[in-house]
Every structure is written in C-alpha cells, then in structure tokens.
Symmetry: C2
Subunit: 149 residues, 2 copies
C-alpha cells in the first residue's frame, strides 16, 4: 500500500474531535474580540455586515430571535461600530451598516485569531485544499439542523 493507513476513527471520535476544534476556534475568536472590547455576539454581527442588513435579516444570519438583535445593535451603535439607516423602499425597515471603525475592528479581530491561523498555517497547500474540500461537503448538510425550533 502506498499511503500509510491511519486507524479508522469511530463516529464518536470524529464527533468529539470536530467539537473540540470548533470550540477552540470559538474561544480564539472570542478572545480576539474581547481585546477590542467586543463580546463574541457583537463581533459576529460585525462579521455579517459586509453589506447593509435589516434587523430581521441579521437575526436570521445569527440564528436568534429578532428581539435580541435590538439590544446587540444598540450596544454596537452606542460605541460607534454600526449605524441604523432607514430603508428607502420600506418605512418599517432599518438597515444596519458598519462604520469605518466597525469595518477596521472586525478586520483586526480576524487577523488576531493567532491560534487558528497558526493551526491552518501548519498544513501545507495540499492539506489545506483537502480540508477545505471535506468541510465544503459537510457544510450544506449541517447548515439546517432546525427540524424543530
């Protein structure tokens, strides 16, 4: 056999490892956000705001109730990270947009995820491409866990 064969992992082992890596990545993100005075949730909002999003669209992206978004955006706005703009086409809608400060801050947060960058940098290009291809297969299947809710 050409390639050294690793022991076949059990489903449980795979689940645990995926959870461990996911948790570590989440902590890395939260720590980077905290250095900029942001909670994890506030930083996630900034990360979603590549373009303007209504409060409801934001709630959908964050997978939480719309009533929560009011408070989270309130706090971001109070510190100058985002603005609320009235929609020109629907007077009920408010579009949330990043300020320049918000844009720069979330960029720094992502850049400062040192543990995650170090881990991914430890893979060579072939391994990175393989990991990407595998995760890309999982994403569409995992993206809709919500039978109930």
């Amino acid at each position: 056999m050409g390639t050294p064969t690793a022991a076949q992992p059990t489903m449980t082992e795979l689940l645990e490892l995926l959870a461990a890596v996911g948790a570590a990545q989440g902590q890395d993100f939260a720590a980077a956000a905290a250095r900029h005075g942001l909670t994890s949730m506030q930083a996630k909002v900034l990360a979603q705001l590549d373009g303007p999003l209504s409060m409801h669209a934001l709630a959908e992206r964050l997978a939480c109730d719309a009533s929560n978004v009011t408070g989270i955006v309130d706090r971001l706005q109070a510190h100058g990270f985002v603005l609320r703009e009235p929609s020109p086409t629907d007077r009920r809608v408010k579009n949330v947009v990043r300020t320049e400060r918000g844009r720069e801050t979330i960029l720094h947060v992502h850049q400062e995820m040192r543990a995650t960058h170090a881990a991914l940098d430890s893979l060579d290009e072939t391994e990175q491409a393989a990991l990407y291809a595998l995760l890309e297969r999982l994403r569409p299947i995992m993206e809709y866990p919500a039978d109930d809710r």
Copy 2:
C-alpha cells in the same frame, strides 16, 4: 495529474468555512440539548463528566471562571442530572458526578445530533479518516489560544 485539483482556498476562505461548520455543529448540539430541557452549557458539563471532576477542574475544562460553575451545577443538580460529593482526600473539594439520569440524557443528546451525524455519514471511510487526521493536526495548536485572559 491523477487527482482532480481543487482551487487552492485562501486563508480567509478556510477560516470562514471552519467557523461555519463549527457554528452549525454548535447549533445542532444546542438544539438536541434543548429537547431534553438543557442549555448548551449544561449539556457541555454533562459531556465532561465521564468521571468525577472538582468544581475547579470543571471550570478549566469549560474555559470559564469557577464562580460560574456553581450556578450551572446548581441547576443541573436541582433537576437530578448530577450530584456533589465531598472529596475524601481534601475537605475543600467537591467532586461533581453524573447521576444515571445525567448519563443517559447526555448519551441521547449526542445520538440526536442528526445534522452532524448525517454530514459525517455522507463521507466514506477514507474521507472520514482523512478528515480525522487533519483535525487531529489542528487540535493541539488551537487548544491554547489563551496568551491573554
């Protein structure tokens, strides 16, 4: 070239995909926990309790302050999922242990992570082994994001 070559992903694309899969897995876990009346954090505690753990050891595993663990364990204990036992060797220490109900419940939660199971099941054995090997490489590097804290 023998194998079809995927486009080389950028570091940003890899980061975003890893975050998306991690978030989806976390939501799948939280939804399964909620079906059993547990919050995500409470279920994480049950998952850690393969054996007895002191309150401080539990805090370390959960990457949160020890003062939080008091309340989380209080609520688990009030619903019969865990017990506090005095340590025989150090009278300051309380060891937290799962009850039979706690053991069965966290087992069900893990079994009911349908989206995650479906995603991993969609990979054949070779792909599962490859994913496991790659994640195993990342874990030790990501596990210690806490320069600061």
